[in-house]
Amino acid sequence: MAGIEQAENARGSATALEPEQSAFAFVFRTLCWGAVRSLPIVLLAVAWEVFARSGAVTMFQLPPLSAVLERIWHDAIGGDLFINTGLTLYRAITGFLISMVAGVALGMLMSRSAIMRWFFDPIISVGFPMPKIAFLPIVVLWLGFYDVSKISMVVFDAIFPVVTATIAGIAGIERELIWSARNMGANNRELMWQIALPAALPQIMTGLQVALPIAMIVAVVAEMVMGGYGLGGAMMTEYRFANSRGVFAGIVEIAVVGYVLVKGMSLLRRRLLIWHPEASEPTTV
């Protein structure tokens, strides 16, 4: 019996332990892998530069990447880059965090109460596929041009995937898991916070990973329409002055900020879901 037990133990630990490797080899491999993975982006950048300098297009139609980067560098030295990026991030992330708290709470309430479900289910079904950005003139009319209306737009759009993911995540919990907790004496409140929420966390995280880029997109679009500071507003100002270098600089800045946000979110997911089998698999985003 002891022999079989040991064999079983060995099987378990083989998956838990990683093969040993030196720190240098690890850094080297990580760098190589990073280079291979970012190669398509590098190729795209080179193609942009070559095409813009080939004479097929004017500087106005497509400024070369180097000129755009130079412009970003100037903005960075002048400080505008940080003001604009900071403001856009502030609006996107504040809106995202409100969507997260309100969306998870609403999803949990709808999972628990038939009345809440009856009331909100059709509203969400109609609201989710609707282009919320169409409400922008109304939001401006009601809430003005400033942060409140921009953040409201973000929440209005980003909350839907969070609510639906929370409901789907809770609905997908095995009943045996709930029964086990009940068996061990968990009451309704403990069942919700200690069992349902962590059990639904993989799905909720997926919903948040969908909501974050939406928050970023809506923040930029709202800024473009409403004007003022922020990456979207700055881009529109450049556009009005027919400065295509400035417009392209805005696009590159938004791309970089968006990438960093999405990447950070996926790292957070791996940290939070360390218990999940997926945590031992390579990342996709």
Partner: protein, 264 residues
Amino acid sequence: MSGQPQIVIDKVCHTYRPPRGKPVLALDDVSLSVGTREFLALLGPSGCGKSTLLYLIGGFLPIERGTISVESKPVTAPGPDRGIVFQHFALFPWKTVRANIAYGLERQGMPREQREARVQSLIEMVGLRGFEDSFPSQLSGGMKQRAAIARTLAFDPSILLMDEPFGALDAQTRHLMQSELLSIWQRTPKTVIFVTHDVQEAVYLADRVAVMSARPGRIKTIVDTKFDKNDKNIFKTKQFVDQVDAIWDLVRDEAIKAQGGRES
């Protein structure tokens, strides 16, 4: 087994209502009593309602007709006097082995030091030392079920409800777990209701085997199966083999009925 039986199931019926389609009568007029510290196996073909009966005793499903009482009190809700072990373990995947086992004790409000000592002794008992901080996803099937059994034993229920607990394990692990369950049961005697469709497992583990009919589930017969469980060669004794054959004959007809009457 003295005085009033610990668990009395009296004329219980249960109708399964799928979200779509028509209702199915899963249990029809089931009556059964189980004595204190008795090991009873519920044996029957798949879909005969044996798991449903177990969930009713556990208080997880509402009892629509008939009554079930434990210690002379009617069952209305789940309780820590009846611990359940599921086929697919139902461990909390975000908790370590240690935290899984501790959960029931936390709910009971056991002080931290006492709790940790109890969790550690259970980990030793089921042979999971060295895996206290592993997550369920890092364990093999057999180890998951050991953790699940330890988690249920932790809050010390007087009744153990086991729903095909070894059904998802490979044959060798299953065999090992059966003898370990027996040795745990001999050390900490509890009333056990053990659902299975494996005749040999039922005869080996149980004092009595209740054979159920195909849907709608009824108790067809109850067979006494008391053997010397510590005998290593029990599987080879004529007495044991004959008993398994006799019960298998009873189950066979029902299994064929459950398949829709086709002999395959």
